[in-house]
Symmetry: C2
Subunit: 236 residues, 2 copies
Amino acid sequence: MQLKKYPHQNRMLVAVDCIIFGFDGNQLKLLLIKRGFEPRKGKWSLMGGFVTPEENLDQAASRILKQLTGLSDIYLEQLLAFGDPLRDPAERTISVAYFALIDISKYEEQINHEYSAEWFPLKQLPSLIFDHKEMIETAKEKLRYKAAFHPVLFELLPEKFTIPQLQVLYEDVYSKILDKGNFSRKILSTGLLVKQKDKERAGSKKGAYYYKLDKRKYQLKFNAFLNFIPNPQLQS
Amino acid sequence: MQLKKYPHQNRMLVAVDCIIFGFDGNQLKLLLIKRGFEPRKGKWSLMGGFVTPEENLDQAASRILKQLTGLSDIYLEQLLAFGDPLRDPAERTISVAYFALIDISKYEEQINHEYSAEWFPLKQLPSLIFDHKEMIETAKEKLRYKAAFHPVLFELLPEKFTIPQLQVLYEDVYSKILDKGNFSRKILSTGLLVKQKDKERAGSKKGAYYYKLDKRKYQLKFNAFLNFIPNPQLQS
DNA sequence: TCAAAAGTGTTGTCCTTACACCCATGT
DNA sequence: ACATGGGTGTAAGGACAACACTTTTGA
């Protein structure tokens, strides 16, 4: 037992919960698991776990993601700490929520699906334990906010993708039809994409060229303001 | 002692630290205090305290602000949770950082200055305990980010203010000279301000009209995108 | 040859910047 | 009267939304 230098203070559990977004080519989805322990065992839940004494919060989030999906090197960003005294009915627990963006096809490649996880369309989520619904709402807002100015959504796509595929993603995130001409010009004008020699053939007769991210420029411009969405009317 | 439902997990201290911004008419400042207890007693520190069993995180931040400044109804927003295992050398402590914007003149009105707090210009901060310097850097970035699109900076001004005063504030926040004509038009075009009958006389011979915030429109448009800064080049 | 989706061209509108200019007033 | 900062006018340039048009190719 560690020596307590602040003897009159209360100690609490600290957890991390991950809101994991994926995109299947048509719509945004969330990865949820059936909770493996009491309370609320068997109910749907975000992926989460307690922070251990040796790790910081980012490390806890990566570890949990790795344990439950098999994936590492995932886009992860701290969302918000949730600390209602009664959020976990069993015991006072602070949860630091993270949101993660993953390439859904990489996840499918993993054989490691022992954790009865399942993808749910964002618009058809099951009921969830604790305040996980609220966390998801906050994450959706933050994703919309961030993606309106920064090229985060590429994290959801495979290495090679077409501009029409990207457009479908943006249209789903913002529930808004975009003009294909203007969209394509805007995306290309960022200089972030490198055109490939080959085309994708399934989606149309003409076929659409594949593109890859220019990794260097992506790093460089990640925090610049790129204005992907015309007149964004976001919640917060 | 509460019954422990998750018997094998570690409990930690959870604190809240507040980054309190103020504006004295010329420059942005931060309110810091001399820490009142060990470890690091007597060193400069952000205002902080431990989260109690009954309160949530927002409530903890408000309570601490009230205790140490005497002020309530302050703009407060959660910034980020900091959780390095060694950030407090005495014992593992997660700290949830908040940033606060206050009208510095309201603070000066308070007689309640028993806590040896002091305003420091942002560019001349003393050395600080733990990871407080990092918290402040993160808060500065977030303030710049937020204020480029949302009218938060009004929280730093008194009820009545002039447009040139507001411009000095924006110029200090972004370390950037703005065109007075364009600035004034842009601010007025938001419809957020109500012109007063009287003028401020100290700053110039002509005098500048006072304005007040239209509270209703301010609430309404707080989350809209208003583009206060031309070509924002922000860090993140 | 036709349909369907990819991709390019074009135009008018609005926004913004830069900067010149006018205004009010204390000294 | 003149210097000083407040405030308005304006013209050039750029960005962008809307939408017409061309291209490619499978059926």
